[in-house]
């Protein structure tokens, strides 16, 4: 039983450690190498640290070893009928001062399993201040998924505004909808 208590304590400690390491925004640059605490969960782990692309607003998506949901700029091969090519954007160099005026940018229509959608973002300068999904399916299970995604991502206090990027947490139970949203959003951000 002593071993069980030890294991449970280890589980709690290492989960907390992992979340805190990923969570603190201050570590976006410094805390990238796998920390020594990893050893508590993973003796001998040497995973590649994720290094964010240095962007002006820290909004560069992190290249990970595999195209992961929301963290990749490569078009998702699983999606069907993508009408817009996501551009592989080079890091933008902002030499001109951004105009402090709001403007809206609309991403391409992305067709997915339950329908299609477009994401429209409102920017003030380079900062996203609002986002919404347009033309999303409204009926049945697809509608529920649309509502979930809208509730989580869109609006002036949604996740898009909070994160200022397309690196959004996939809405559980609405993965196709989330992916389509993020794809259109990414293209909109690239256009902006």
């Amino acid at each position: 039983m002593r071993r069980a208590v030890l294991a449970i304590t280890g589980l709690a400690a290492s989960t907390t450690a992992l979340v805190v390491l990923k969570g603190s925004p201050g570590t976006s640059q410094a805390g990238q190498d796998l920390p020594a605490d990893q050893a508590s969960v993973a003796p001998g782990a040497s995973g590649p640290g994720v290094t964010p692309a240095p962007g002006p607003a820290g909004s560069g998506p992190a290249p990970s070893t595999r195209p992961s949901a929301g963290a990749s700029r490569t078009p998702d091969t699983k999606q069907t009928g993508v009408t817009a090519k996501a551009t592989t954007a080079a890091p933008r160099t902002t030499t001109t001062a951004p105009k402090p005026s709001t403007r809206t940018v609309t991403g391409p229509t992305v067709t997915y399993r339950y329908g299609s959608l477009q994401v429209q973002i409102t920017l003030s300068g380079t900062r996203i201040v609002n986002a919404t999904g347009l033309g999303m399916p409204q009926s049945g299970g697809s509608g529920l998924r649309s509502d979930d995604v809208q509730a989580r991502y869109s609006g002036t206090s949604g996740e898009v505004v909070a994160k200022q990027s397309a690196n959004l947490n996939t809405v559980s139970g609405a993965t196709y909808t989330s992916n389509a949203y993020k794809q259109s959003l990414q293209a909109a951000i690239d256009k902006a």
Binding site: A69, R152, G173
Partner: protein, 475 residues
């Protein structure tokens, strides 16, 4: 039975005792050399695989989660929920794999240690499942600004495979709580056993939501493929260890009861014969799980050690009659078919860490030690505790082994409060009897009280813990 000095711990040098007219009495061949040692390499390799697997289970989350992306409380909780979910899924696989009876596991880790690990890991798994469930519910409720109950309702209604996932969690909670020793002892064994079998259902019911809703697993890709492959691998191990390998073993060896012999008023030896017995890879001290396929016993499986090393001609188990099942074994008829699963256990001469050994037996606990003696290097010592002279089992064989393998045997007769046994079972007494006890492996088998007391005495005498080997079927 030779007469004993009841209260004295007297050294008996072996004299070759001619065996009385027992048809299946062993006529031992000249002793083979001691078994080569098997280090803990196999066990360490399995431990390494376990830790690597744990890292591989959590690594996708680490790579998928951009640094600094867990800004607020719901995000942090979601992250923790995902980690505990991945860990729980992995631990459930390990739990099932550990009970798959794969030959490698049974031989390298041993069934008894596997059971202990299974219990400890089970507690951890239960905590991980409950943490995963509550973290995700609370995090999503926070994100969507719903009440906890409302969020549970929406998960069950709107998300794929979540109903079966909740059922799986319910099963695991039930199995986990009935696994707690205090609760388990008051439940009928059959109830506990059948409830425990439903954990296979939990494995399958919980799988759906992992690949339909799991943030790291819903996308086709190497991670998802690897995860599904791990599940298939464990199911294959289960089929192999529980079905195919036992079928193969029993079809190959076709064991039958040859004879049942009374060793003492309450102990019997069962001799088994079969085909190709010289090809059974079993070490003295290991056990099989036996089913005797007669009218009353075919549905019960019981672990008994072999009480003689493999000799290619017969197998023997020596059993103390303690309950209804063991009482029925007395009436086994020659010719009864026997279904055996094994061998299992690391309580063998091959797992020694030193070249010399001290064996301490209590009552019918002599069985595995008697089998092991044939395979230990010469120069071992055996202390045999028994309540009365009549409780000393396999006496002629022990005397013969004492001579053939230069083993010192002490019969220590009497209750634990008598002066003789009390003196022997003390650090000073042990050191007087076996001066180099700290440089020996000590093998213990007997009633739980005796084993516990002996371990205390040995530790006080300065024997390192890793040199003490226990055979116990009690969790």
């Amino acid at each position: 039975m030779t007469s004993q000095d009841t209260y004295a711990a007297g050294r008996r040098t072996g004299t070759s005792v001619p065996h009385g007219g027992r048809s299946a009495a062993p006529v031992p061949p000249p002793p083979p050399p001691a078994l080569p040692r098997r280090g803990p390499g196999g066990r360490r390799a399995l431990a390494t695989v376990f830790w690597l697997g744990l890292v591989a289970a959590v690594l996708p989350w680490w790579l998928d989660t951009p640094a600094g992306s867990l800004a607020d409380t719901p995000d942090l909780l979601t992250g923790a929920g995902r980690i505990t979910g991945l860990v729980a899924g992995y631990l459930l696989l390990v739990q099932v794999a550990m009970m798959s009876r794969l030959g490698a596991l049974e031989r390298w880790v041993g069934g008894e240690r596997l059971s202990r690990l299974h219990r400890d890991l089970g507690a951890t798994l239960l905590v991980a499942v409950l943490a995963h469930l509550s973290l995700i519910v609370v995090a999503y409720a926070g994100l969507e600004e719903k009440s906890i109950l409302g969020e549970v309702g929406s998960l069950l209604r709107d998300y794929e495979d979540m109903v079966s996932a909740f059922v799986a969690a319910g099963i695991m909670v039930a199995v986990g709580f009935t696994g707690i020793r205090a609760i388990r002892t008051v439940l009928p064994y059959e109830l506990w056993y059948h409830l425990h079998l439903t954990s296979y259902a939990a494995l399958l019911l919980g799988f759906g939501h992992q690949v339909s809703n799991g943030a790291q697993l819903f996308e086709a890709g190497p991670v998802r493929t690897g995860w599904i492959a791990a599940y298939l691998l464990v199911l294959a191990a289960l089929a192999w260890g529980r079905v195919i390998a036992p079928l193969h073993f029993n079809l190959r060896h076709r064991l039958r009861v040859a004879d049942v012999v009374a060793e003492s008023p309450d102990t019997i030896s069962i001799y088994l014969t079969g085909r190709r017995l010289n090809q059974i890879d079993v070490l003295g001290g290991q056990y099989f799980r036996w089913r005797f396929l007669n009218v009353g016993g075919w549905w019960q499986s019981h672990p008994f050690s072999l009480s003689a090393a493999a000799n290619g001609r017969w197998l023997r188990l020596t059993v103390k009659v303690v309950g209804a099942h063991t009482a029925d074994l007395r009436d086994l008829r020659p010719g009864t078919r026997v279904w055996a699963e094994g061998p299992s256990g690391t309580f063998t001469a091959a797992h020694r860490t030193r070249e010399r050994a001290l064996l301490i037996a209590g009552g019918s606990g002599i069985a595995p030690l008697r089998a092991m003696l044939e395979e230990l290097p010469a120069g071992a010592a055996l202390i045999y505790r028994a309540r009365t002279p009549a409780d000393v089992l396999l006496h002629p064989e022990l005397d013969w082994l004492a001579q053939a393998r230069r083993t010192s045997v002490w019969y220590v007769i009497g209750s634990r409060h008598d002066p003789g046994p009390r003196q022997v079972m003390s650090p000073e007494g042990l050191r007087r009897l076996v001066p180099d006890v700290t440089r020996r492996d000590v093998y213990l088998c007997g009633p739980a009280g005796l084993v516990d007391e002996a371990v205390r005495v040995l530790r006080r005498a300065g024997v390192p813990r890793r040199q003490i080997h226990l055979a116990t079927f009690e969790l």
